[in-house]
Amino acid sequence: MLLCGGLAGAGVLVGLAGLYWHLDSRDAADEVSTDRFSGRAWTPAHQDLVERADRSKTLATGAYIAGGAFVIGAALTFIFTAPKTTTEVIKTGTTVTPVRDGAMVTRMWSF
């Protein structure tokens, strides 16, 4: 159960990191994206933004994959390691069994 919770927690944390990188990538891409003549010159700063967008996109993709793997791992761990439930029927009561020279009385309790 501890392993399961750890995996699920790691999945959420890594997923949040992926969201951070995703938003960072989107912000950087938005800063240089345009659909018309901008009137601005393409400078090394713009180039850096493109590289940042690409780098964060790669990190976000990796984080989403890793986070998803952790969550799936948590689910599989839960499925395959949960304790199996068994039902045992214990008949209680008093039994009298004849034996040689007499009889044996047996009392059974369930606790």
């Binding site: 891409a29 010159a41 090394p44 713009h46 967008a53």
Partner: protein, 196 residues
């Protein structure tokens, strides 16, 4: 609906930079897959980029020294702004422009501004007195277009002597020329005489 909004919020991680949306940066810098178009300094698809070329009338030969400078004409002590467009082709060492300060002026200063695209070689302004050797002159430019808008500026103002012949030189400063691969540029030289 929330899902759609969430998708829009998260989407667009790849920059969208269509050809023709940016001017060329320093040393013809353009987005990946694009190149600098010589005629207008705009980043376009590499296959459609035209080479830089000077128009003939903007690059007259023989103006490489103060003594053989192109005349800017007669100026008054307080002259209107005179704007000259020019072009430095590859290998051009300088473009010089000559002017005379009228002898009847009391105190007069020359004010000049040189503007040129940052995409090609960087230029300096030089001043020559009595057709002697030029020296670099530079002052602070008033707030105007920034390099972010694809242009660089050189400005200066200097008190000059009435009755003297001067020449303004546009000279490459040896930087921003793509290791000589873009050792050319076009420019706009504005000058006037004014009272200090």
């Amino acid at each position: 609906m929330r899902l759609v909004i969430a998708c829009l919020f998260l989407a667009a991680c790849t920059p969208e930079i269509p050809p023709g949306s940016y001017l060329c940066g320093p040393e013809q810098l353009c987005p990946e897959g694009q190149s600098c178009n010589g005629p207008d300094n705009v980043c376009v698809v590499t296959s459609s980029a035209m080479p830089f070329a000077c128009e003939t009338d903007l690059d007259p030969p023989g103006d490489d020294a103060p003594a053989t400078a192109q005349p800017l004409g007669t100026l008054d002590c307080v002259s209107p702004l005179r704007v000259t467009k020019g072009c430095m082709s590859a290998g051009d060492v300088a473009d010089w422009y000559q002017f005379d300060v009228p002898a009847n002026c009391v105190t007069v200063q020359v004010e000049a501004t040189l503007a040129f695209p940052i995409a090609y070689e960087s230029l300096d302004l030089q001043l020559s007195t009595n057709l002697g050797p030029g020296s670099v002159v530079e002052g602070t430019c008033p707030p105007s277009r920034s390099p972010d808008e694809g242009e660089a500026h050189r400005c200066f103002e200097m008190t000059v002597t009435p009755g003297t012949r001067y020449a303004l030189g546009v000279v490459p400063d040896g930087t921003g020329d793509c290791d000589r691969a873009c050792a050319f540029n076009r420019y706009r030289l504005s000058m006037q005489l004014a009272t200090p």
